[in-house]
């Protein structure tokens, strides 16, 4: 039996199409990605060509993540926060660190993780890991440099009167669009689409964090549009220790 031979309800047509589209784009990206890797790995390839191929790899990977995000957001409409299973945020951060380096092979990425707890259980299934990786990718995409330093801290705090874990990611060279400085991420909805396109990553993080019963915010470190620096804050509900 084919994987898609079940009848599809009309209300699910949109999700069905997005799933197919996502799958199709992903397959094509896979081919581009692998051929670029083959070019970069060809013996005797010019250094510059290799660097161009590595940059292209990052863009293909980002495009894959973007299309995946659309699929995830559609799936997130069915998330029931009270049914989410616990996951260790520390492990999600560790995994996302190595994924991020693979994602951007042309950039030199360093993590500063002072005083990381042994574990930080949050409610979020694998969505929480997706969220962490997306916040890291967003930070790198907003940083115009090739040397990236991400400072990550986890703190046990309260959110809406309930126990939560807060992850703060600071990048002193990331540049947020100035309109985020006032109302925060929600301000994106009132922007022209040509301006808002810079914030697909932060919007995704906001929507996913909210659907997990938590929150996300992105702020400039300095209230001065001439200075770079951004702080990304993810709040997720605390879960029972694993």
């Amino acid at each position: 039996m084919s994987a898609h031979s079940k009848p599809v309800q009309k209300k699910d047509h949109f999700a069905f199409y997005m799933d197919l589209l996502g799958h199709d784009v992903l397959n094509n990206n896979q081919a581009v990605l692998s051929y670029l890797e083959l070019i970069a790995a060809t013996p005797g390839v010019d250094k510059k060509v290799k660097a161009f191929a590595e940059k292209a790899v990052s863009h293909v990977r980002t495009s894959t993540v973007l299309i995946d995000n659309v699929k995830r957001l559609i799936a997130s409409r069915d998330i029931e926060p009270e049914k989410l299973k616990p996951i260790d945020l520390v492990k999600s951060v560790e995994r996302a660190e190595s994924d991020l380096r693979r994602h951007f092979p042309a950039k030199r990425i360093r993590f500063e993780t002072p005083a990381m707890p042994k574990s930080a259980t949050v409610l979020g299934n694998n969505h929480a890991s997706d969220l962490v990786l997306n916040v890291f990718i967003t930070a790198v995409r907003l940083n115009p440099g090739d040397d990236i330093v991400l400072s990550v801290t986890l703190a046990e705090e309260r959110f809406r009167g309930k126990p939560a874990w807060t992850m703060r990611v600071e990048d002193k060279n990331a540049q947020l669009p100035p309109f985020l400085d006032g109302e925060g991420v929600s301000a994106t909805y009132s922007q022209d689409i040509s301006t808002a396109v810079k914030t697909t990553g932060v919007l995704f993080a906001k929507m996913l964090a909210e659907s997990l019963g938590g929150d996300f915010e992105a702020r400039s470190l300095y209230h001065d549009p001439k200075r770079r620096g951004a702080l990304f804050t993810v709040i997720l509900r605390r879960g029972e220790k694993l």
């Binding site: 039996m1 994987a3 898609h4 896979q30 081919a31 692998s34 293909v60």
Partner: protein
């Protein structure tokens, strides 16, 4: 030389696997574009491939079902399951796949799985 059967409904993905694997010294002994064709080719071949690379979403018969039936024919057959649907990993492993590779994968990840599976005991 390790022999491979590639099963995927996208021609360009089949060609991609072939390009990567041949470059790294593997022998592609066959290709199939859906699970049913894979079963037929597998059943008709005297000399079974060392490894099968199996996609999931395919017309007529999906990868999980094809893996189940191939393992039923030959419980020692090594299948590497490759799919963009990470949620299908458990089903694929339950069906008998020895490795699961989520898309998009890096070329080195595929080769690493190939080496691991080729060297493992049957």
């Amino acid at each position: 030389m390790t022999s491979v059967l590639i099963v995927d409904d996208e021609l360009f993905i089949v060609e991609l696997y072939r390009d990567i694997l041949q470059l790294r010294g593997y022998k592609v002994v066959g290709t199939a574009f859906d699970g049913e064709e894979a079963l037929k080719k597998y059943g008709d071949t005297q000399e079974k491939p060392d490894v099968i690379i199996m996609d999931h979403r395919m017309p007529i018969m999906n990868g999980v079902e094809a893996t189940k039936q191939i393992i039923r024919m030959n419980p020692r057959q090594k299948v590497i399951f490759v799919s963009a649907d990470v949620l299908v990993e458990k089903e694929a492993r339950d069906a008998g796949a020895v490795e699961f590779l989520p898309k998009p994968f890096r070329m080195d990840d595929l080769i690493e799985k190939m080496q691991k599976v080729s060297l493992s005991e049957t």
